[in-house]
Amino acid sequence: MSKVSARLYRRRRLVNHVSLTFSFLATVFGLFWLFWILWTALSRGINAMKWDLFTQMTPPPGSDGGLLNAFAGSLIMCFGAILVGTPIGIAAGTWLAEYAGKQRLGEIVRFVNDILLSAPSIVLGLFIYELVVHQVGHFSATAGALALALIVLPVVVRTTDEMLRLVPSQMREAALSLGVPQWKITVQVLFRSAMPGIVTGILLALARISGETAPLLFTALNNQYWSTDLNSPMASVPVVIFQYAMSPYESWQSLAWAGAFVVTIFVLALSLIARAILVRNKVRND
């Protein structure tokens, strides 16, 4: 090797080592913060865990209590959101995958859906405020559930669309050749095949809305007491966490950490289950 090419070789090797080291350090850096946050939420949360959390109502400032009404409120509103968002989402996803996929209008809707998917949730909350709360005149759990449904909708549309398009076209052709009408093919053949994927989408949507705070702030507001009235303000875990974490009272802050712990575990568990369903199904399809 000549001197010049040896020098070039050394330089290239140096650049390579430096950049690969950088990429390794970037990974360590990214994981470090993420695990620090996870560790904080889990360790502080577990210290604040008490049985009272699930049996007592949210307390007035400075005293002890639990988050029972907030858990109930979150459950009710998330359930409502899934109930509203899922059917519309599955229908719209079906339309995109089976009817309008390559038309101009279908392309536009897919584009818009992807934007809704990442749109700031606080904006969706403001929209429901204008649409519902402002018209009715008061905050309500229904408005909160609707705001969350707007977050569920694009997630379900996207996964339904993707999962239906993954179904091999031979299945459609085989059913069509038997003279089965298209709606029956969709409902009885395609949905059955795509169901694990669609369920995954719903679980991921649930994981996403169970920690959503911003859209609930001015739709469902908050409620210190037990309430199952869909027409009045309702407490939810994230909003209570927000209120309590920002407060100067020690007992409230510790309740906020306990709530954060429960939400984090719930979200992580849901994502893991969703992944497991997807992985198991993939293996079976092969």
């Binding site: 390579n16 229908a91 700031p120 029956k184 994230p238 992580l268």
Partner: protein
């Protein structure tokens, strides 16, 4: 098709009529089904339009009262009913810019590590771990920021920045300020940590689409890994990588809870990144339920409209950039 004979079929009707009626019924159901799923699809489109229009309608009073001055006025005076959006807009842009400045190189490094460098057994678990962490609700990031990171900034980072960079001629004023811990810089860093999982997983997926024969050809010619990344992977995926960055930017601009906790909620335009500030989303979250006059509420909704327009543009660019790679993939 053979018509089954038996008790199910009324023998008095000829087989053709049954088949015809069934065909009619199927066609009817098909039409109903197609129309209802199409209605759901159009509904998605209508929601986006309705969101934009309703915010414009809600903010009309602010836009009409203050005119275009709303965009560059620094007023935020609830007593005298004078509102301007410059401080929140500035805060949103600065925090998002800090976030992207940190998140983009780190995410790029992570994506390269996970696709080109890491040993095979490491790639899936680390990649999944990062994606799982992307699902943690933003309020957890906010709480961590408030209780752990703000004190850390106040004790260690801020004094150090004041002593070392604070004296510099041009950059100096950016890093001079009280050791509060809260402020633009803290918010930007927390946002960066939130955005890293998103951007890096998009980049990772995009890098995986590069045909391995392209990379193998380059390796066969003696290219190093870094040369393959710069000269093969990046040119092939450039538009999608930019799309991923814009996707992260869209998140950073609209993120509410993580920022609200650590920004300090101060309506003041200050050159220092260490001073408390405000962002559009944080202003809305903090003040919406306290707004006591029509014009106050209208100004907040007008802020929401601005945020929506900006994120819409950013996300649209992201989507178009990402689609370009898909088309390239499809053309292959």
């Amino acid at each position: 098709m053979a018509v089954p004979s038996g008790s199910v079929i009324d023998a008095s009707q000829p087989a053709e009529r049954i088949a015809a009626r069934r065909a009619l019924r199927d066609a009817l159901f098909d039409g109903v089904f197609r129309r209802s799923v199409a209605a759901a699809g159009i509904f998605v489109l209508l929601i986006l339009i309705a969101v934009a229009l309703s915010m414009l309608w809600g903010g009309r009073q602010a836009f009409l009262t203050f005119g275009p001055e709303f965009l560059w006025s620094t007023d935020w005076d609830a007593v005298n009913h004078k509102f301007g959006a410059l401080v929140p807009i500035y805060g949103t842009i600065v925090t998002a810019a800090i976030a992207m400045l940190i998140a983009v190189p780190v995410s790029f490094g992570i994506a390269v590590f996970l696709t080109e460098v890491a040993p095979g057994w490491m790639r899936t678990p680390v990649g999944s771990a990062i994606e799982l962490l992307a699902g943690i609700p933003s309020i957890i990031y906010g709480m961590w920021g408030l209780f752990v990171f703000v004190p850390f900034m106040a004790e260690h980072i801020t004094p150090w920045l004041n002593d070392n960079i604070g004296e510099w001629p041009i950059l100096g004023p950016l890093f001079r300020g009280p050791p509060l811990g809260m402020g633009m810089l803290t918010a930007g860093i927390v946002l960066a940590i939130m955005v890293i999982p998103f951007v890096s997983s998009v980049m990772r997926e995009v890098f995986l689409t590069v045909p391995s024969r392209l990379k193998e050809s380059a390796y066969a010619l003696g290219a190093t890994t870094s040369e393959v990344v710069w000269d093969i992977v990046l040119p092939y995926t450039r538009s999608a990588v930019i799309g991923g960055i814009f996707l992260g930017l869209g998140r950073a601009l609209g993120e509410t809870m993580a920022v609200t906790f650590v920004l300090g909620n101060a309506h003041r335009l200050s050159p220092s990144l260490l001073e408390p500030g405000n962002s559009i989303a944080a202003t809305i979250a903090n003040e919406f339920t306290e707004a006591d006059s029509e014009i106050y509420l209208s100004s907040l909704i007008a802020l929401g409209f601005l945020l929506f327009v900006v994120t819409f543009i950013v996300l649209a660019i992201a989507k178009l950039m990402l689609n370009r790679l898909n088309r390239l993939e499809g053309a292959r």
